[in-house]
């Protein structure tokens, strides 16, 4: 795992403590029962704290998997986000 993915994995462990670490990279809203609308909000807040960014809440619907969030963070970093991504 690259550094961003590792930090994102830590965020997932915080919000989904019952999700085995090995399953996190493949985690999707559709496959993680605990990933409901409330958990999605909590996950965004944890990610914002971890990466020091503001996530665009309008993009919540498309940030529906570990992979898509990781990609979002990397795109933000490439675009000059302070520490990952930015709204």
């Amino acid at each position: 795992m690259d550094p961003i993915a590792t930090r994102l994995s830590n965020c997932f462990q915080t919000v989904f403590p019952n999700l085995p670490e090995r399953e996190i990279p493949a985690a999707r809203q559709s496959s993680v029962a605990a990933w409901d609308s409330t958990a999605a909000i909590m996950l965004v807040n944890v990610i914002e704290d971890e990466f020091g960014i503001q996530v665009d809440f309008d993009r919540l619907a498309e940030l529906d998997s570990f992979e898509s969030i990781c990609q979002y963070l990397k795109e933000g970093q490439a675009a000059g986000g302070a520490d990952g991504s930015a709204a």
Partner: protein, 140 residues
């Protein structure tokens, strides 16, 4: 930090306003002005019912589009109570006050069509109560 919260309305999610509003009017003996607001920022349609002037209102909330944030609620929990709304003098101060009480941000401030451009923000309390904060005055 302390900030008074003035109870404004409760939000109730329905699959469609047209199909449900008459039932609410009848059940609550409420008044309905027939106005339905579509808000592209919030991606919802809303309307308000009044039981007594000055009392908190009932807001019926209908998802507007497949990417509406309430559509997921509707799919997860079905028709039901969704949020409570409080008016605050200053939105940022209201959000800050709620954060000190353990709430987290669910959506950042945006103008709301149903409130003539007054800004709203969404907070989730530690008890998972969704709270809408409505700024009393519109920002110029």
């Amino acid at each position: 930090m302390d900030l008074p919260l003035n109870f404004h309305h409760v939000g109730f999610v329905v699959p469609g306003i047209a199909a449900t509003v008459d039932g609410f009017v009848r059940s609550l003996g409420a008044q309905w002005d027939g106005c339905v607001y579509e808000d592209p920022h919030q991606k919802v349609k809303v309307t308000f019912l009044t039981t007594r002037p000055g009392d908190p209102q009932i807001e019926l909330v209908e998802p507007a589009g497949e990417d509406s944030p309430v559509l997921r609620f509707l799919r997860e929990k079905g028709t039901g109570l969704h949020h409570v709304c409080y008016e605050v003098e200053d939105l940022e101060r209201g959000m800050a006050a709620m954060k000190t009480r353990g709430a987290i941000i669910a959506r950042r401030p945006k103008p709301a069509v149903a409130f003539q451009g007054r800004r709203i923000a969404w907070m989730l309390t530690a008890e998972k109560l969704l709270v809408e904060l409505l700024e009393i005055a519109a920002k110029a």
